[in-house]
């Protein structure tokens, strides 16, 4: 466990050794999901705040707080506006984060189950609680699914903003959850609701990326990157790819910074990220050139340098093809515009070359997931989008599954009302009483990634290879002993039968040392 360094002897020439993970490309992942709540079929009015409190009754009775940590190391929280929230325990692999996220769904499902039983005693046998893993309610209020990545401190925030944000906006081509709007369909849930690109504040504006003051790690070594721009996914592939491809890009950025060389992402910045986000979200072809770059020439030079391939066998013709791309220099003269797909291909090409050069270090950056497999699937996904082959992605990408289902529905019933489509959109995200997503799984349309046995275990067991193991172990023992305690991401605090506290600063450290053993002994 790294020692906390006294700031008085910090300096550029400091000889203080870094923690092992500071020099590696390993990463801590976290997903925080805010859920939406509604009730239908009740015999009398019932507001979501009331229902959320009912959901959390078992949590409240045990911990006297609507913010509690569970034996699997995760955090359960009742958020502002009555959005129940689940934050996954620290994982050092995207697959583990996925499993924890699915355990979060099941945890929420069970809380709703007991609340619905109680509700039916007072509000009629037909009262039905819907818990939505999505990002917008029917009135346009939005709420989030946020990712956390531990990033090495030496990467300046402006660098992250410039180099990561274009990736985060365009990855929505395969991570977007889709949304039925009043007049059509969009790829993302929240393009209409996100404004500033990067900010340290989350109060009034809605930034896409920020960093948090509390890294929940050694602040001299790491910062916690908090990504706001991301939809809540039901597709397990989307959750995996969201986390894993972002990891690959962060590895490139960190290494370039460490070595003092260009990453290859320097020229990717968008002139107007919000506008780019909206344009991408509205383009169902996934190929229209609608994004304005800060420096199109530099970007094109980068594409030549890295040989960013647009499509297999596809020539980069000027002009607008039926199933091709609109390139700069086309007949409309819209020079300097790119498609989100072109941007993604560039990120892919840069990461691909990086992995050729740093394959060994990358292979050991994730304990369970193969970076090479992620890279290959990323490429296969982009190629399918380039061909317009949505069917190939139907089982992997939420917006595509929804869109193809809606198109089939409209083909069967051209007069179907929009309200029905909006209902289907919502049902897709209803993890308690929805039927659509389960049907897609059952009929082999939507693909599973995580094993059910692992998800079941993750309900009660934290990841074994991160700090979550220590937190989870403490909580489990404390509950069994009937002790009074609190904790947060970096502290374990015993109150009764003894008063003791332990600081856990290193999220990569799952080792129960003497201090931890002593704490448990006092329960």
């Amino acid at each position: 466990m790294p020692q906390l360094r006294d700031s008085s002897n910090q300096g550029p020439g400091s000889e203080v050794p870094h923690s092992p993970q500071y020099e590696s490309l390993k990463r801590i992942f976290g997903v925080e999901t805010e859920y939406g709540v509604s009730v239908t079929g009740a015999s009398k009015p019932c507001d979501p705040g009331q229902v959320a409190m009912m959901m959390f009754a078992p949590v409240l009775s045990r911990s006297r707080s609507t913010n509690t940590y569970l034996p699997n190391g995760s955090r359960l929280y009742l958020d502002v506006g009555s959005h129940p929230e689940y934050a996954t325990a620290e994982a050092c692999d995207p697959y583990d984060a996925l499993v924890q996220d699915l355990a979060g769904e099941e945890t929420m499902r069970r809380l709703v189950g007991q609340a619905q039983e109680r509700l039916r005693r007072t509000h009629g046998a037909g009262a039905t609680i819907h818990l939505y893993k999505n990002n917008v309610d029917s009135a346009g209020h939005s709420f989030g699914c946020h990712e956390n990545y531990l990033v090495r401190r030496f990467v300046p925030l402006p660098v992250i903003k410039a180099q990561l944000l274009p990736f985060l906006i365009t990855r929505q081509l395969f991570t977007g959850a889709g949304r039925v709007t009043g007049h059509g369909f969009e790829i993302t849930q929240r393009a209409g609701f996100l404004d500033e690109a990067v900010s340290s504040s989350t109060t009034r504006s809605r930034p896409m990326v920020n960093t948090r003051d509390e890294p929940h790690a050694d602040p001299y070594e790491f910062r916690r990157l908090h990504v706001i721009i991301g939809d809540s996914n039901r597709s397990q592939t989307s959750t995996m790819m969201k986390l894993a491809t972002t990891h690959l890009v962060l590895c490139v950025i960190e290494t370039a910074q460490r070595l003092g060389i260009p990453s290859g992402f320097e020229a990717c910045a968008f002139r107007a990220p919000s506008a780019a986000n909206k344009a991408l979200s509205a383009d169902l072809s996934a190929r229209a050139a609608t994004i304005e770059l800060e420096d199109a020439d530099a970007f094109r030079a980068g594409q030549r340098d890295f040989g960013s391939v647009i499509a297999p066998g596809g020539a980069r013709d000027a002009g607008i093809g039926e199933d091709g791309f609109e390139h700069s220099g086309d007949r409309d003269g819209r020079a300097g515009l790119v498609s989100g797909l072109e941007v993604q291909y560039h990120y892919l090409a840069v990461v691909s070359r990086f992995m050729d050069e740093h394959g060994g270090q990358m292979a050991s950056s994730l304990p369970r997931t193969e970076c090479a497999a992620i890279l290959a699937d990323w490429r296969t996904t982009l190629d399918a989008l380039a061909r317009g082959d949505l069917r190939a992605l139907q089982g992997r990408v939420d917006w595509i599954a929804k869109l193809l289902l809606i198109r089939r529905l409209k083909a069967r019933d051209p007069d179907i009302p929009t309200a029905r489509l909006r209902q289907i959109d919502m049902d897709y995200h209803d993890i308690t009483n929805g039927s659509l997503y389960d049907s897609l799984l059952r009929h082999g349309v939507m693909r599973r990634v995580a094993g059910q046995a692992e998800v079941d275990r993750a309900l009660n067991e934290p990841p074994a290879d991160t700090r979550a193991a220590l937190r989870g172990g403490f909580i489990a023992h404390a509950l069994a002993a009937g002790a009074q305690f609190t904790c947060d991401w970096t502290h374990l605090t015993l109150k009764q039968p003894a008063s003791a506290e332990l600081t856990l600063l290193d999220p990569f450290d799952a080792h129960s040392d003497a201090g931890y053993t002593r704490l448990l002994a006092r329960l």
Binding site: P48, H83, H141, A392, I424, L440
Partner: protein, 67 residues
């Protein structure tokens, strides 16, 4: 011929074997028909479970925004 996706991401082949649903997706009419059939089956499933009053269902979901 379209490329194939990896079957799964983990090198752990023993425990927690994911239920891999896909393999090579050949662009045959049979395959396209099967996919339509699957979507039809899904739509038939939900037609009986979706609440009848769609507008009321949609309107029931209103909450203040989150952080």
């Amino acid at each position: 011929m379209p490329q194939q996706f990896s079957q799964h991401y983990t090198s752990d082949q023993v425990s927690g074997q994911p239920e891999a649903q896909d393999g090579l997706r050949r662009r045959t009419t049979d395959s396209a028909q099967a996919e339509s059939d699957a979507l039809d089956a899904v739509l038939d499933d939900i037609s009986s479970t979706l609440e009848h009053d769609a507008e009321r269902y949609v309107a029931s979901f209103v909450q203040k925004g989150g952080q």
